[in-house]
């Protein structure tokens, strides 16, 4: 939702499949492939995390890599708060998100509470 909002605020269209699928270079999110690789390897391929970190630093710099690491840490936190407390969206918000959540397959998550 916030990715869509922050893109719209800049008159940019972002393909939200970027979040779950192949992350190719695109206008809305600079260095999407390198950022995606850092996230992906940190979750499911720790042996490749160091290479992903180096690739992101090479494409950007140390400070950007550190901020990306901090955002990952933050959403490791937020996901556990939401799922540990059974937090769900108000019904009106769920309605406004319906098309996006269906197209992205998010409605198939166990955590898709209402």
């Amino acid at each position: 939702m916030m990715l869509r909002a922050s893109s719209s605020a800049n008159d940019m269209q972002v393909d939200l499949s970027l979040v779950r699928g192949e992350a190719a270079e695109n206008e809305a999110v600079d260095h999407a492939p390198e950022l995606a690789r850092l996230v992906d390897t940190s979750v499911s391929d720790l042996n490749s995390l160091s290479a992903a970190r180096s690739a992101l630093v090479e494409a950007t710099d140390d400070a950007t890599m550190l901020d990306a690491a901090a955002v990952v840490a933050n959403f490791e936190m937020m996901t556990r708060i939401a799922d540990g407390t059974g937090t769900c969206h108000p019904s009106e918000r769920l309605e406004s998100m319906a098309e996006m959540t269906t197209s992205m397959g998010l409605d198939q998550f166990v955590s898709a509470r209402s």
Binding site: L38, T85, G86
Partner: protein, 252 residues
């Protein structure tokens, strides 16, 4: 000289020789100071025991499926402070949060006998450890050791929390704001459900606000869809956030 919780974090960050922001180091040091100190419903030793389960779960190279008991599998050393049922719940929160259901929550509370407020504080400890350890792992820096427990009694401070429409746990609604919650509620027309989730324990709200401001975006800047620290753009921040949340199968 004995290391303080803050110095443990600060030394790890300094040793990396990376340009780690001072506010991020301060935020991690702050939650490390609280980690093994008496909390609201758990004492320092109990909070440290919860933290150690979270750390072991994060380190588990081959996590067991959510329907199996990690304590029965011998993943944890015997712990006199936490029941095996609570250890299992902490492991599942850490490794398989996206699989939790309201039925699971209800059964977990029956099996462990803990109150909703105690569970909220368990989550607070879990998010502190997860934030500090995962940042260290991603940044490729040394991971801070756990601090030593500090003796003392929990505060046992009640809040006027009530059953909630958008949570399993009770929350304090905006109209019931207390002085302890004022720093997090004051001036807001509404509090997003995921922020309100921890409101029955104000110290947990403090942990969330401290970490979120340094790791993500300061609360007051949330409304600015172009906000940046000069490194990641807002769109890059949200892309990383969305991709991680999708990996964790977090619908919210």
């Amino acid at each position: 000289m004995t290391a303080t919780p803050s110095s443990i974090v600060e030394e790890c960050h300094a040793a990396s020789e990376l340009p780690i922001r001072a506010d991020l180091t301060a935020a991690h040091a702050h939650v490390w100071e609280k980690l093994a100190a008496p909390g609201t419903w758990w004492d320092g030793g109990e909070r440290l025991a919860i933290a150690e389960i979270v750390g072991a779960a994060l380190d588990d190279p081959v996590p067991i499926p959510p329907w199996e008991s990690p304590s029965l599998s011998g993943r944890f050393s015997r712990n006199a402070l936490l029941s095996s049922e609570l250890q299992d719940a902490i492991y599942r929160l850490t490794v398989h949060a996206g699989t939790l259901t309201e039925e699971w929550y209800s059964k977990m509370r029956d099996a462990t006998g803990i109150t909703p407020q105690q569970w909220v504080e368990v989550i607070e400890v879990a998010i502190s450890v997860t934030s500090v350890f995962r940042f260290s792992q991603l940044a490729g820096i040394e991971r801070p050791a756990f601090p030593s427990p500090i003796e003392g009694e929990p505060l046992r401070q009640e809040q006027p929390s009530k059953p909630a429409k958008h949570h399993w746990v009770p929350v304090v609604h905006l109209e019931d704001m207390t002085p302890e919650l004022a720093p997090f509620y004051d001036g807001l027309p509404a509090v997003p459900p995921v922020i309100r989730a921890l409101s029955s324990v104000p110290s947990a709200m403090d942990t969330l606000a401290t970490l979120s401001s340094a790791q993500y975006i300061p609360t007051r800047e949330m409304i600015d869809l172009d906000w940046t620290r000069g490194t990641l753009s807002r769109r890059q921040i949200e892309f990383v956030a969305g991709r991680l949340s999708a990996h964790r199968e977090c619908f919210y």
